[in-house]
């Protein structure tokens, strides 16, 4: 057990170093949400004219549309990066030729994905605190203490996202261009998850898809905690769904990974590309 933890720690540190040594890529997580939200807020103000704020309040029950949008952007980009990074990690190692090396060491191979997830957990938490925390501190100081319960929900919501990433990582293994696939799925998720709007404005059949991915519940619960000042215990329904999704996607991801690993050993696919 302790040996396993040591391995996990080593993988996590390796991945964190990667982010630290490519700061321009990591900065992306901290700067882009502000820029994107600024673009959308200006568009919204322009469309709604002088009554933009009122209309927005009528439709969402939230007064400050900048905060509403920056929360959406932060979670959206976070989920995007997680699915892309974890989803393409195995395929990338296969292309670079390092996958075989990693499979030569006597450890559970699933640890590579788990270690990467831990590194992402730290990054996600940090970007949430910096992006949403600083926005709350500047615009709505009273709501700042809600950052703590919402961070807990964020941590919970990351579990199904990682699970989904693991599912992806086994699915894209045979694709020559894994990024085109993750790009497409990520774009699709962004639209159906209600990143910038409540999902009930979407057609009924689309909502079915919305409610089958963790993004939707995560964004919804965060909004309720931060903007409606609801307590985590009051939102137990959402929390249970997130937890269940975490378990389901994790098991699915693990199963698929094992399946891929076995098949790769049989047909020598570890070094194929």
């Amino acid at each position: 057990m302790i040996r396993d933890l040591r391995v996990l720690k080593a993988v996590m540190i390796k991945d964190l170093k990667h982010y630290y040594r490519y700061p321009s890529g990591t900065l992306f997580l901290f700067i882009v949400p502000f820029l994107f939200t600024f673009l959308l807020s200006t568009m919204g103000s322009f469309v709604g004219g002088t009554l933009a704020k009122e209309y927005f309040y009528l439709r969402t029950g939230v007064e400050n549309f900048f905060l509403y949008q920056i929360l959406g952007t932060n979670i959206w980009i976070m989920a995007w990066v997680i699915l892309e990074d974890i989803g393409t990690s195995i395929r990338n190692e296969q292309i670079k030729g390092t996958l075989e090396q990693n499979f030569l060491v006597p450890i559970n191979k699933f640890f590579f994905l788990l270690g990467l997830s831990f590194a992402h957990t730290l990054l996600a938490l940090l970007s949430f605190i910096v992006v949403v925390g600083s926005s709350l501190a500047l615009v709505d100081l009273e709501s700042l203490p809600r950052l703590f319960p919402s961070s807990l929900i964020l941590l919970l919501g990351l579990i199904p996202l990682f699970g989904l990433g693991f599912v992806f990582s086994s699915l894209v293994i045979h694709l020559k261009e894994p990024y085109s696939f993750t790009h497409l799925i990520n774009t699709f998720f962004s639209v159906v998850a209600g990143t910038y709007y409540p999902v009930h404005i979407l057609p009924y059949w689309v909502q079915w898809i919305s409610y089958s991915i963790p993004h939707t519940y995560l964004i919804d619960e965060m909004r309720k905690i931060i903007f409606s000042n609801q307590l985590v215990v009051e939102l137990y329904g959402n929390t249970i769904i997130l937890l269940s999704m975490g378990i389901i996607y994790m098991i699915l991801g693990l199963r698929l990974f094992r399946f891929f690993e076995r098949r790769a050993r049989i047909n020598g696919g570890l070094s194929k590309f």
Binding site: G44, F46, F188, V191
Partner: protein
């Protein structure tokens, strides 16, 4: 730098054709990207529109700014993305894959090769724009009536000259900067904000709108929207047309100059194939 001095139409055509065909063949051999572009381009447009619906009382409420207004802005965004990724980023890929030195070894003008690449991206862009237009028209009440077709065509040409200039500028940047990949998204969003693509520069706070007024794209997008929708222009249309022409030409020359300068600098430092 005699590469740019002598111009021979026949040679230009041969080089252009070779470069265009090469890029086109490579592009179609990555069908997953084409499919991804085809589906995600209208999805992105929808993503923006859905975010904007919250700022009007009902989804069907009439606003002074129709879907057409955002569509024409989106067209420019597609072209901008092309110059950043399709042209600029591609040269970085050639550098990473080791083929760039081979291009510099051949007795050809690099400008022609980039024009060939630009032509490939233009064709794909036009296809995707047309297809998105059909989808938007099908699912919405957008009219897409064009106020002044020949002026719209003129605006398109100017935009493409600018995009080519930008493509050269970004190619130069991509050759020089190791972190070009992460820079592209930042540049893309910043330029989308300040070019007044989805709103007039007057909607931006001071002093950001001053940056807008000093960029060529602002007037080009404005001219595009005027020719399609007959909206009020930033400055008098009789001045905006020659000004746009001038700014498009200047952007092209700036791109050309920066690319030549970078090429020379890389030769000096021995970094053409460096990555």
């Amino acid at each position: 730098m005699e590469d740019y001095q002598s111009f021979n139409l026949y040679k230009f055509f041969i080089e252009f054709k070779a470069s265009f065909l090469k890029d086109f063949k490579i592009y179609i051999r990555y069908p997953s990207w084409f499919v991804s572009d085809l589906i995600s381009t209208p999805l992105w447009f929808l993503f923006f529109l859905l975010a904007l619906i919250l700022f009007i009382p009902e989804p069907s409420s009439p606003t002074i700014y129709s879907i057409d207004y955002f569509f024409w802005g989106y067209v420019f965004v597609i072209f901008l993305a092309t110059s950043l990724w399709g042209i600029g980023h591609e040269i970085r890929t050639e550098q990473l894959e080791g083929t760039i030195e081979q291009l510099f070894l051949a007795p050809v003008s690099r400008l022609t090769l980039i024009i060939g690449r630009w032509a490939r991206t233009l064709i794909v862009d036009l296809m995707i724009i047309f297809y998105t237009l059909l989808l938007v028209k099908f699912f919405s009440n957008a009219k897409f009536n064009v106020f002044h077709p020949s002026l719209l065509l003129f605006a398109f040409v100017l935009i493409e000259v600018t995009i080519l200039g930008l493509g050269l500028l970004f190619s130069a940047l991509a050759l020089k900067m190791k972190s070009y990949n992460s820079l592209t998204t930042l540049l893309f969003i910043t330029l989308t904000i300040v070019s007044g693509v989805y709103f007039p520069p007057s909607a931006l706070p001071y002093p950001i709108n001053m940056v807008s007024y000093s960029l060529p794209f602002t007037y080009l997008v404005d001219l595009l929207k005027y020719s399609a929708l007959e909206i009020k222009t930033i400055i008098e249309i009789s001045v905006e047309i020659p000004l746009s022409f001038l700014l498009a030409s200047l952007t092209f020359l700036l791109g050309l100059f920066s690319f030549r300068w970078t090429e020379r600098d890389l030769r000096k430092k021995g970094q053409i194939g460096f990555h």
